[in-house]
């Protein structure tokens, strides 16, 4: 038993729903109680889908237990087939139905439904959403795809994009464009918008582009084995990774690595002088492993940030992320406990967070700017405009998105110059953010000591360290976006020297010490 407050991943059947909802002509019969229908709203509200997820829930009740839950399942299955006439069906149980052991797969098989029925075994008490999507897609592929004659021209399948994914819709277009430049066509995109008939044609492609390992790695391996299709290992997010991706594809297909860089602006935007202020910004990264891996490289090599911490919530990729962390000289944080992530961020006091919607909330609470790089995401992360993460345009989009929450270079100077000006005071936050100024830790349960009594010396942390009143006043004159860093550095500096009272001198000695 484990106490959970907010979760990064839902149960595995939600992963299955993400596959089913992304597809067309597939129907999912889910043995589940009525409350589990909440999952529909993830798709209709957060992603603004204009159709119901293709899911029939059996919605059995307490009084049905032990009597006829199996026949409720059969009826639901029959009704769903008759009403929706899908090309294929998937059947399975949610956590509650798993306990009553009706065996949806066996029941459906005995029903002679005239289309393929794929039974899903998703262990709800051990695994989570990403396992559910990966396993579901694999089972569908395994049931429907076979080795086939290759298409005449070189084609690829794009596999992994699904419903509720972070920018999957637009990433597909970018990857299609990259392949097109090299004269490579697209055979099938799946699960996104694919029908079971499309899945049956996967074998025609020459290779697979594994866009999101979280959702399709098992299927990619399966296709490699059964259809002799190699798959790409590079995820083209970021300038460097996109170059590498093109090279990898060129090698797989033995074609020229042709690129059209005419729309790639990120490198110049990053080199131009206004971006100097990005140098060494301390960032913390958290999300799914794939997005964290790509973001780490962008952060360090393409933005000039300093990665001070990173981690992922999907344990399936823990080993990769530990290795990555080592390369970056930081500790990897592998957890799905939101409070642990918050604690790590508080301790590291980064200047920026690159995370999921969870970290956005942490950032709001701690007054640290945050840009979203990974699912789980909320309604604002499904923009109407074209906004990919992959490919050349993705690199441009990421540059813009990541600097948006930060204070601009020129603006940063102005804030320093005019920090006493009543109209231009730093409490207002970044001027382009309107009502979204970072807030101090107001709602956090622990009281924030520094803001409290200005005259009395203030103790911070476990060791007794005291900010003298004038030093604290001086600290408040430092603009908000560097104040946290200044405070932390000063305290670290003082602690290292065994200084227990922080004066103005300590503050500036620390500043000189840490200057770079």
């Amino acid at each position: 038993m484990k106490l959970t407050v907010w979760t990064y991943e839902g149960p595995p059947h939600v992963g299955a729903m993400r596959v089913a909802t992304a597809m067309k002509g597939l129907h999912y019969v889910l043995h589940a109680p009525q409350g589990d229908t909440y999952a529909d709203l993830l798709f209709t509200m957060i992603e603004r889908r204009n159709h119901r997820p293709p899911v029939s829930y059996t919605t059995f009740e307490g009084r049905d237990l032990g009597t006829d839950t199996a026949s409720i399942f059969r009826e639901t299955c029959r009704d769903a087939y008759d009403r929706y006439q899908p090309q294929a069906m998937i059947v399975g149980a949610s956590c509650t139905a798993e306990l009553i052991q009706d065996d949806p797969g066996g029941l459906a098989e005995a029903m002679d439904i005239p289309v393929p029925v794929v039974a899903l075994e998703l262990p709800s008490y051990q695994r989570k959403e990403n396992f559910g999507s990966d396993e579901t897609f694999y089972q569908i592929v395994r049931a429907l795809a076979q080795p086939m004659e290759r298409t005449q021209e070189i084609t690829a399948n794009l596999i992994g994009p699904l419903a509720l994914g972070f920018r999957h819709r637009d990433d597909i277009e970018e990857v299609k464009g990259l392949l097109y430049e090299m004269g490579i066509g697209v055979n099938v995109v799946a699960p996104f918008d694919a029908t079971p008939e499309d899945i049956a044609k996967l074998g025609q492609a020459h290779f697979n582009v594994l866009m999101y390992p979280e959702h399709a790695e098992t299927a990619a391996r399966h296709l490699e084995r059964t259809c002799s299709q190699p798959y790409t290992k590079t995820v083209p997010i970021g300038v460097g990774a996109t170059h590498d991706f093109v090279a990898e594809v060129a090698q797989i297909c033995a074609v020229e690595p042709k690129k059209d860089l005419s729309r790639l602006r990120q490198p110049w935007w990053s080199k131009s002088v206004d971006s100097t202020y990005l140098t060494g910004k301390r960032v913390f990264l958290f999300g799914d492993a794939t997005h964290v891996k790509t973001a780490a490289r962008i952060a360090r090599d393409e933005m000039g940030f300093e990665v001070v911490g990173l981690g992922c919530y999907n344990r399936e990729f823990a080993r990769d992320i530990r290795k990555l962390a080592k390369d970056y000289g930081v500790e990897a944080l592998i957890t799905d406990d939101y409070l642990e992530v918050e604690k790590a961020i508080e301790d590291l006091a980064p200047e920026m967070i690159l995370g999921t919607q969870m970290e956005r909330h942490i950032g709001k609470r701690l007054g640290i700017p945050c840009a979203v790089i990974s699912a789980p995401v909320h309604v604002q992360d499904f923009p109407a405009r074209y906004s990919p993460q992959m490919g050349w345009e993705g690199a441009n989009v990421i540059f813009d998105t990541w600097i948006h929450p930060l204070v601009m270079g020129l603006e940063e100077h102005l804030l320093h110059m005019f920090r006493e000006d009543f109209e231009f005071h730093d409490e207002a936050g970044a001027s382009h953010h309107g009502g979204h100024a970072p807030k101090p830790i107001a709602e956090a349960p622990a009281p924030e000591p520094v803001a409290a009594q200005p005259e009395a010396p203030v103790e911070t942390g476990g060791d007794v360290m005291v900010w003298l009143a004038d030093a604290e006043r001086e600290l408040k004159k430092i603009p908000f976006f560097v104040r946290g860093k200044a405070k932390r550095n000063t305290e670290k500096f003082a602690a290292e020297r065994g200084v227990s009272e922080i004066s103005i001198d300590t503050l500036y000695e620390a500043k000189a010490h840490f200057a770079r």
């Binding site: 979760t7 409350g35 509200m45």
Partner: protein, 427 residues
């Protein structure tokens, strides 16, 4: 003057009920935790359930406003499912940990879920054991919010009902208001009744456990929400007596609800008029403004919050709408009977759900407005139908006079928006 307009002819109370049994598209009772934990400020809600339950709470809450809200899910894992003794020990350990971290917690609700009920984890026994262990600092209660036993707002009913047996005994003649409303609305209700000289007034649930009301044979109570059937039965068992009335939605509902209480406490017409005339007039004006867009429009209620019948009464009688179907997850005439008396027979009254068939009826009727859950709203909009999502009705202050205009506004906004948007090319 304050009596309801007499309805001549058949009303909805006697109309046949279309009972349906099929796929339901409603939340389970766990959802109530989202508003209950805001109301009871020293309570913690510990769901004993699965990752699905945790995910439901997160999705229904929409945003995570607090780092550590006063609710959480003890997620059952493979090991807990094997041996029962273990699960109880694990639960005790989680509760100990929680209570030592959160000394502000005075009431702890162990909330049952489908998985805990299917494996027959006895939370009642656990609550008794934990109450003894953590007395006198914390009282531990239990109720079911599971989807196999409760729908959506029934969770609040189950929670309040679990509190009734442990309320202190009293012989005082007191008025008890039952239901978790936003403070601003609760204060208005208390204020209106106090001005009529009615008191003492107590509220269930109280903000803090120390303020818990007493109950006894001289208690009379009025429900603020139409889904409190079990709570009402539990109060009856304690000797309390219910004041029946339509629910306080809209000007008419509020007046009839107040009048029923006023009658019980012998308030004369003059005092009643003195207290209510001004807010009644305000409410009428506000409704009239918001209801312009609703006049003559048709409405279809999918079953969801249990507020459907009282809201249909308000929208048909005060906003000029015509109801096509009024669906409720279940119909408890002991609670919504007075509202049904005021709706002339005509609309289909349905109980339970078979969502595909019901959607067929929606498509056939093409109502001007469909009230439904969040999972159905955008798909219906995409079919050219205008919708109002029901969950807002339980999250927003909508009861009593001062909110009557807002309540009408919740329904008129989507209708006005549809008329407002011009997304095609000019001719």
């Amino acid at each position: 003057m304050n009596q309801p307009t007499n309805i001549s002819g058949a009303t909805c109370r006697d109309a046949p009920i279309l009972k349906e049994r099929g796929q339901r598209e409603v939340f389970c009772g766990l959802t109530g935790i989202i508003w209950l934990h805001r109301k009871m400020q020293d309570a913690f809600f510990l769901v004993v359930g699965s990752r699905t339950c945790a995910h439901l709470l997160q999705s229904a809450a929409g945003v995570m406003i607090f780092a550590e809200p006063r609710f959480g899910t003890a997620v059952l894992e493979e090991g807990d499912l094997a041996g029962m003794a273990d699960a109880h020990e694990e639960l005790d350990r989680e509760v100990d940990r929680l209570l030592s971290r959160r000394p502000d917690i005075k009431q702890l609700f162990l909330v049952g879920s489908c998985p805990s009920e299917v494996i027959k984890l006895d939370l009642h026994r656990a609550a008794e054991r934990l109450t003894v262990k953590h007395a006198p600092h914390v009282r531990v209660l239990n109720y079911s919010g599971s989807g196999i036993e409760t729908t959506f707002t029934q969770g609040e009913d189950a929670c309040l009902a679990s509190m009734v047996p442990v309320l202190p005994e009293t012989d005082e003649r007191e008025l008890l208001l039952v239901g978790a409303l936003p403070d601003v609305v609760e204060d208005q209700a208390v204020d209106l009744l106090t001005k009529m000289g009615i008191g003492p007034i107590r509220v269930l649930p109280a903000h803090r456990s120390a303020e818990a009301p007493g109950v006894g044979p001289n208690t009379v109570y009025a429900c603020l929400q139409p889904f409190l059937g079990d709570t009402s039965a539990a109060l009856d068992r304690r000797g309390a007596r219910m004041i029946q009335a339509p629910f306080p939605f809209g000007e008419e509902g509020t007046t009839l609800w107040l009048r029923a209480i006023a009658d019980e406490f012998g308030v004369d017409d003059e005092t009643f008029a003195h207290v209510t005339d001004a807010p009644r007039a305000r409410a009428r004006t506000a409704i009239a403004n918001a209801a312009k867009a609703l006049q003559g429009k048709t409405i279809f209620f999918m079953p969801d919050s249990q507020l459907e019948i009282p809201l249909a009464r308000f929208l048909t009688r005060e906003c000029g709408m015509e109801a096509i179907e009024i669906g409720q997850p279940y119909i408890h005439k002991g609670l919504v009977g007075p509202d049904m008396d005021l709706i002339p027979a005509g609309p289909t009254i349905s109980e339970g759900q078979d969502v595909d068939k019901q959607l067929d009826r929606v498509r056939a009727a093409r109502p001007d407005l469909t009230v439904c859950g969040l999972g159905l709203a955008n798909p219906l909009e995409a079919e050219g139908l205008t919708t109002k999502w029901a969950i807002e009705l339980v999250f927003t202050p909508v009861h009593f006079y001062e909110q009557a205009g807002d309540l009408a506004g919740l329904f008129s906004r989507p209708v006005r928006r549809r008329e407002l948007l011009k997304l095609e090319a000019a001719e």
